[in-house]
């Protein structure tokens, strides 16, 4: 080296103006302004007080838009009448719940006074059972395929994930355009000698369409979770199984499935929660019809509370509390599972 090095390095490198530092300038400016008052505040309030200060905005928003409506909803469910404002409504106690559960035969929903609620519950139940089962099976198969060395694997992953990014209303509209009488499906089938069919006016087809469309719309999300789970399984376990001459089905049953189980459980519960809440895509697609064939619980609540004349906000509130209880149970199960998985990870 021609020049002798200084004994110590210069304290700070010469400042360079990069695009990033330029973009951060307003941030630094604001931080500079906020610095002094925040320090003063911390001195006055202490560390715990600062935590409260920073959490307060979020807690405020949570209280106004989540907590308060829940409380108001509970209050509504205890009132009757057609008035909108709470102060004009009469207190009826648990009458709304009694009304819902007033059935002459508990095995026959049609014998109930509020049979529309029980029809919606029945529809939702079958929707949840069929949709979740098919959804999990489809997601698992898709994830297994996408986990292989495919050509253009990233492209296929994007293809399956893309519907998740669509707004539910868009999903509903797309499929209505495909399935309506002057829709794409009839247009394709027409040259093959099929007369145009009003697909969505058939009860079974409409229900199947509701299930199919919601699977199409949500599958990508669950596929992604399962794919992540599959990729976390070490490759050499499969190589060890290959050396042992394990048949593909046995590898799946004895290695893949047990090791994927934590992810699978999470996916099942998440899908259950989502399916119980089914509303938007299906409402846009079928409007609950034909008749009440695709009317689900959320739609019943919405129509009872906001559409029907006279509006029955009390009954709708009671129904939504009941639905909320089901969701709370499912959420607790989900939390329990994730906690168990976390503990397993620690071991």
């Amino acid at each position: 080296m021609s020049q002798s090095q200084p004994a110590t390095r210069p304290l700070a490198p010469a400042p360079k103006m990069s695009a990033a530092s330029l973009a951060l300038m307003p941030v630094h400016f604001i931080m500079g302004l906020a610095d002094k008052p925040l320090r003063a505040l911390q001195k006055a309030a202490g560390i715990g007080g600062m935590a409260t200060f920073f959490l307060a905005p979020n807690m405020l928003i949570f209280s106004i838009f989540v907590l308060l409506p829940i409380i108001i909803n509970i209050v509504y469910s205890l009132t009757g009448g057609t008035a909108i404002f709470l102060n004009e409504r009469t207190f009826v106690g648990t009458d709304q719940y009694a009304h819902i559960f007033n059935c002459s035969n508990y095995l026959d929903p049609r014998s109930c006074q509020e049979d529309a609620f029980w029809t919606a519950v029945g529809n939702t139940f079958w929707f949840v059972v069929i949709q979740v089962t098919l959804l999990i099976v489809c997601s698992l198969i898709t994830a297994l395929i996408l986990n292989r060395d495919l050509m253009a694997r990233s492209f296929w992953r994007a293809v399956f994930f893309f519907p998740v990014l669509l707004s539910p209303v868009v999903v509903g509209l797309i499929w209505r355009w495909i399935l309506q009488r002057q829709g794409l499906l009839n247009y394709i089938l027409y040259p093959f000698g099929h007369d145009p069919v009003t697909w969505l006016s058939d009860r079974t087809v409409a229900f199947a369409a509701a299930v199919g469309v919601s699977i199409w719309a949500h599958m990508g999300f669950y596929t992604l979770i399962l794919l992540a789970g599959l990729q976390a399984i070490p490759k050499d376990l499969y190589e060890a199984a290959e050396m042992d001459g394990t048949r593909a089905m046995r590898v799946f049953r004895r290695i893949t499935l047990p090791l994927l189980m934590p992810n699978l459980l999470v996916v099942v519960v998440l899908a259950l929660i989502k399916a119980v809440q089914v509303f938007d895509e299906v409402y846009v697609l079928t409007g609950g019809g034909p008749g009440t064939a695709t009317q689900f619980l959320t739609q019943y609540i919405y129509e009872t509370g906001f559409v029907s004349q006279p509006r029955n906000a009390g009954l709708a509130a009671a129904a939504s509390i009941l639905m909320g209880l089901v969701l709370v149970v499912l959420t607790l199960i989900q939390l329990g599972i994730s906690k168990r998985n976390e503990n397993k990870g620690k071991r």
């Binding site: 050499d236 190589e239 060890a240 290959e242 050396m243 042992d244 001459g245 290695i255 047990p258």
Partner: protein
């Protein structure tokens, strides 16, 4: 049973050639170690033999039968993976049984084989535990056990000791050697640790960049390395190399001139070297000593490592770094002038192409 023959075996991933024309004859019952630096293709070669990778050229035969197209399961080999690859959700017993159940073996025979392997490896008390509840050394035994129960024609071990701590590595190494003596099966063992290679192998295969550099018994490689790479790789610490151009070669000595202009005389008869040719003269640190008579190579001490039983001297001579290991404890300090003796030391001379010339 258990001979493995590789003839012109090649493996490439697209345009990347990982293995070039590998020719190797592994005899039944032999313990062969593949050794080489990271990325030399030793693990790929093992996986090719295992059948986990398809070869792209040449022929692979087990017991004289061509197995190029035979699946990994039907080659009758068992592999011990670097990560052990134990099934985390199964107990030790289930891990051992899993492979045997595939072939529909009767339950009684499976139990008997597992019992035998468990006794041999002293893992009987852990049979109902899961891999997550075992220590590294215990997992390692289970992984070996899973190979043993299959009674394979040959064992393939891919860096099986690399996840163990230093002490456990030494004891497990001895156990693997004992296991080989007992089972008398062919074992192929991959490692980058030349001490493991030296202590375990009947024969060592030194690899570099997808090619075999030399095959031989451990001491053959140590005493007669075929090229500079093998000379530098086998033996710890590395062999000293003195680089220089030939000044003259007469009778029993060759004189070379180092880059700094100083000359070095090596007492080794060489034929067919021309003046000006570049040579590397290799002398192992263990074969260099401190001269009592003043005859030898003048050097300067750079660093002294006192290990108690021996002293490692980092010295500089001819403008190059040299290492000498001398027995006992020597009190030397950095900067001190010494004379390195190499009388009677085995001297290895390599040409410009790296091949041995003496």
């Amino acid at each position: 049973m258990g001979s493995i023959t590789l003839t012109n075996v090649q493996k490439s991933y697209g345009a990347v050639h990982v293995l070039h024309d590998i020719n190797l004859d592994i005899r039944a019952g032999e313990f062969v170690v593949f050794v080489g630096p990271s990325g030399c293709g030793k693990s790929t070669l093992l996986r090719v033999i295992a059948g986990l990778e398809k070869i792209t050229g040449g022929e692979l035969a087990i017991d004289g039968k061509r197995v190029n197209e035979v699946s990994a399961a039907d080659r009758g080999l068992a592999m011990v993976f670097q990560s052990y690859a134990l099934y985390p959700h199964m107990s030790v017993r289930q891990n051992l049984a899993f492979g045997l159940e595939n072939s529909g073996m009767p339950k009684a025979e499976i139990a008997e084989r597992i019992g035998e392997a468990a006794r041999m490896l002293e893992i009987e008390q852990y049979m109902e535990r899961r891999p997550g509840q075992l220590s590294g050394g215990q997992r390692q035994r289970v992984a070996i056990g899973r190979a043993i129960v299959r009674r394979p024609t040959a064992f393939l071990l891919d860096e099986p000791l690399s996840n163990l701590d230093a002490e456990l590595r030494v004891s497990t190494r001895a156990e693997i050697a004992a296991l080989h003596d007992r089972l008398k099966s062919t074992m192929i063992y991959v490692t980058h640790d030349q001490v493991e290679a030296m202590t375990l192998a009947n024969r060592i295969v030194v690899m570099r960049a997808g090619k075999i550099e030399q095959v031989g018994a451990p001491l053959d490689l140590y005493n007669n390395p075929a090229n500079r790479f093998v000379a530098g790789f086998i033996g710890a610490p590395h062999m000293n190399f003195i680089e220089g151009d030939v000044v003259e070669s007469t009778g029993g000595t060759v004189v070379i001139k180092a880059a700094n202009g100083e000359q070095f005389t090596a007492p080794v008869p060489l034929n067919g070297v021309t003046t000006g040719e570049r040579l590397s003269v290799g002398i192992r640190p263990q074969h260099m000593g401190l001269s009592e008579t003043g005859r030898g190579l003048p050097a300067k001490v750079r660093l002294v490592e006192a290990l108690g039983s021996e002293t490692v001297i980092h010295a500089e001579a001819l403008g190059q770094k040299l290492l000498a290991i001398v027995p006992g404890q020597r009190h030397l300090s950095a900067g001190e002038a010494i004379t390195l003796a190499y009388d009677g030391a085995p001297i290895h001379v390599f040409g410009a192409n790296g091949q041995r010339v003496n």
